[in-house]
Structure formats: structure tokens, C-alpha cells
Amino acid sequence: MTADSIYSFKKCLMVLILTGMVLISVGRAQENPQEILAKVNALYSSIDDYAATVTLSVNITNFRMPKKIVKVFYKKPNKFSMKTDGFAMMPKVGVFPVPSNFIPADAQVMYNHSETLKGIRYHVLDVKPKESDKKDSEISLWINSKRWTIDRVILGVKDSGSSEVNLHYRQIEGKWLPDSTVVTLNYKKGIPKLDRPSIERPIDDPDVPRVNVESLSGTVRLIFSDVVINSGLDDSFFETEEK
């Protein structure tokens, strides 16, 4: 290979790299996060109300509870109701994945990048609360570019940890609605390993700071069934719940 040919090869390579970089940046510039969110919202725009039965199973360090059945109800624009016998804890994200339900109104949404996973292109958006939030939380959304569903959410709290929500969908009446949701938790501060009352410590006080608090890790799994949309849920149903 002559010096000229090596020089021309390098030149071609440089041009290719530059072209690629330009194309990527142009591509980025063309992706408008608000437009992407609008497409996600449009998916659910024809859903006025939603009801489902959720089977909840929890597997968290130092926390055990039986499987729970929770009835969830949603009505446009932001009415929510959840009912269960006794007690249950539901993830804040992943029950009904309309972005407006978990993106604060004053939040700043930015396009981060796009990536391809299992042959599907995802738009990754970052959500940052505009007002200085004490917890300094950040939300990242993975939006499926084929069906415009939120397939993955990462909620990060600075110096505290993060939780990852993976949503799986199925089509109900032509709409992509959650079929199952898995929340994976990973926080520095967990639930203290409180012992049952004993002769040495008749009452264990959860308020007392623990020396070696284990981290909070584990999963919460939600399986959706009996999904009903647009059944005409009355506002009074939610008002009673608010009371």
C-alpha cells in the first residue's frame, strides 16, 4: 500500500466519521421529547376510564407480605383509586402508564439518546423537576418507538438509590395496556431488621436509628387482569375515595 492510498483511506474514514456524527446530531435535533410524549399520551387519549385487578407480590429485604389483590381505577385526567382488603403497597409508576401521572407539570423533559433493544428502537427521555427538589430525583423513560408505550422507567434519587420499572403490555380493545409490571428496588437505606418482642426488648421501636441498616433491594411484581376500559366510572366513585 502506497502513502497516497493510506492518506486517501484516512481521508475517507474521517469523512465517514464526521458524516456519522453530523447525522447523529441532526437525528437528535429532530427528536422532540414533547412530541414523543404527545405520541405516548395519544395512545391513551381515547381511554376515559380504566379499571383492573392487580395481583401484587412483594419480595423485598426485611419485608414480607402475602400476595395481594388490588382493584385499581383511573379516570381522566388524574383521578385514581385503589382498593384492597387490608394493606398493600403499589409502585407509584407502572399501574397506568400515562406520562402525566408521574411527570411533574413543571418538569423539564430532555431527549437523551435512542437505543435498540431486542430489535426495537427506544427513545430515552430524561425528566428533571424544574423546582429544586430536596431529593434531587431524576426519571428516565424508555419509549418504544413502534407502539409508543413506556416500556422502562428508572427513578433515581441522588445519594439514595434507584428503582427500575419494567412494563409488559398486551392489547386490549386495540390499546396497549399493562399486562405485568416489575419494579426492581435498589436503595441504600432499607427497612431495619426489627426483631419480634423479647424479654430483653419487649417493645421494638421503629423510630430508634439502627446501627447497621441493610440496603433496600428486591422486586415488586404486578400482574393485571380483568381490565375494563371506558366503562363510564362516575366521578362520585373517586370523590368517596378522596374523603
Partner: protein, 281 residues
């Protein structure tokens, strides 16, 4: 056997005919509804405190504040306070008759001293079981009625939430075990009662023993651990064991067995003391 059953029945009637028998029942009947109404009105912050670390990611549906959790916390009275109602009666069962001199007449009947003391012991057991189960029934029943039912939140290697059905089953086992625990106190008091002719001594003696044992159990001195297995108070926490998951049956059986040995020893010592008792003077 018929004599023993008859004697036991009469002993139960004797216990039931005394005013002091009802002090415990009346106190429980007043205290429990008051506590339940106060919880219903002012709440109970246990959920907020213990689940603090999960508030960021979860929405809590329903409430853990219900009659069952109040009943669970109320079980803490079974350590030190509740035995007062037990010794109040158990301390009087034998000694009062010694003081009144009724043994002189009774022991002329064709019933052995062993049968008399056994009848009194069984009657004491009936009273103990009745008052413990009364506390259990009233606290769980009124708790569910006034504060409401639901899942039970307990501490066991962290937080354990039991469904209402499971919790009620655990309460049943817990209160049966509490009967065993309180019977240990009753049998010690019964022993002291068989040794004296006034009921104040056995009451004070039993309480003093309990307090000393609690002090020895609670002091964080390693050297004292050597004597812990010999203190019956070391096994008093057995009534909280059913609220673990899975239920530690082996641990429960071990603790109940040890408490059973203490009860048997106190009963036999009472019997020996009563058989040898001088009642003619």
C-alpha cells in the same frame, strides 16, 4: 376421681364467689374499650415510622392501623402488669383457707390432701386460662369491632404482614401460650400460698420474684447469661413466637416444655408442703 372433680368444681365456685376474682375482668373490660376508642380517634403512627424508607417509590393502599395491631401491642401487658391479676387470686387460693381455719373441717372428709391441693391447683388454672382468654377475646374482638379488621403488621426479622385470617389463627396460638406463661406465675404464687396463711405474702413474694427475674433477664451483662436458662421469665416471650413466619414450632415446644417443668415443680412443691402442713394449730 369423682371426689377430685367435685372438689375442683367447689374450688371454682369459691374463686368465683370472691370479689377479688373480678378485679382483673373489670379492669380489662374498662381498659380495652377505652384504648380501642382512643386509637380509633387519634390513630397509631406505626405505619409511618416503619415504612418510611419506601414512601418515595410506593403508594400505600389501605391502612395497617386496625384492631389487630392494637391487640398485638397490648400483648405487652402480659410481661409485668397482667400477672398482678393472676397473683391476686392464686395467692389467696390456699392461704385464705389456712387463715380461716376451714381446712380443719374439710380435711376430716374422705378426700386426700393431695386431691385437695390438686383441686385448688386446677381451679387456679381455670381462673388463669379464663382471664387470659378474656383479655385475648376482648382485645381482638373489640379491636376489630371498634378500630376495624385488616392485615396485621408485626416485627419479625424486619416487617412481616399477615393476612387477617392468618393473624387470628396466630392470636389464638399466642393466647394459648400466654395461658402457659401466666400459669407459671400462678403456680409460683400457688406454692407461696401453700406455705403461708395470709394472701398478701404470696402476692408480694411472687411479684418480687418476677421483678428480680426480669431485672436479671434484661440487664445487658454477659456474665448473667449463664443463669438465664434457669429463670422462667426467659421463656415468657414465647407468646410472641407465633407471629413469626414460619411459626417456630420447635422453639415454642422447647419453651413450653421448660415452662411446663417449672409449673410441675411448683405444683409438686405445693403438694408436698400442703401434705406436710400442720393444720391443727
Amino acid at each position: 376421681m369423682t371426689l377430685l372433680l367435685k372438689a375442683t368444681w367447689y374450688e371454682i365456685i369459691k374463686i368465683a364467689s370472691k370479689w377479688r376474682t373480678y378485679i382483673g375482668f373489670i379492669t380489662i373490660a374498662i381498659l380495652i374499650p377505652v384504648i380501642m376508642f382512643l386509637v380509633r380517634k387519634y390513630g397509631f403512627g406505626v405505619q409511618d415510622n416503619a415504612l418510611n424508607s419506601m414512601k418515595g417509590s410506593f403508594v400505600f393502599v389501605g391502612s395497617l392501623v386496625n384492631g389487630l395491631i392494637v391487640s398485638y401491642f397490648l400483648m405487652n401487658v402480659l410481661w409485668v402488669h397482667f400477672p398482678f391479676f393472676i397473683v391476686l387470686v392464686a395467692g389467696d387460693v390456699v392461704s385464705s383457707e389456712g387463715a380461716a381455719g376451714t381446712f380443719r373441717i374439710w380435711l376430716t372428709r374422705p378426700i386426700s390432701r393431695f386431691q385437695v391441693i390438686t383441686a385448688k391447683f386446677i381451679a387456679t388454672f381455670v381462673y388463669t386460662a379464663a382471664i387470659v382468654l378474656f383479655l385475648g377475646l376482648l382485645s381482638v374482638g373489640l379491636g376489630m369491632l371498634i378500630v376495624g379488621g385488616g392485615d396485621l403488621f408485626v416485627f419479625d426479622k424486619g416487617i412481616l404482614i399477615l393476612s387477617q385470617g392468618e393473624a387470628l389463627y396466630r392470636f389464638l396460638i399466642a393466647y394459648l401460650l400466654a395461658v402457659c406463661v401466666q400459669m407459671t406465675v400462678a403456680s409460683l404464687c400457688f406454692l407461696f400460698s401453700s406455705l403461708t396463711s395470709n394472701s398478701v405474702g404470696p402476692i408480694i413474694g411472687t411479684y418480687a420474684t418476677l421483678v428480680v427475674m426480669f431485672i436479671l433477664s434484661m440487664l445487658k451483662i454477659d456474665a448473667l447469661k449463664v443463669i438465664h436458662p434457669y429463670l422462667f421469665t426467659s421463656y415468657f416471650d414465647v407468646f410472641f413466637a407465633p407471629f413469626s413466619d414460619p411459626i417456630p414450632w420447635q422453639e415454642i415446644a422447647g419453651d413450653v416444655g421448660k415452662l411446663g417443668i417449672f409449673i410441675l415443680v411448683f405444683y409438686l412443691a405445693s403438694a408436698i408442703s400442703f401434705i406436710r402442713k400442720e393444720i391443727t394449730t
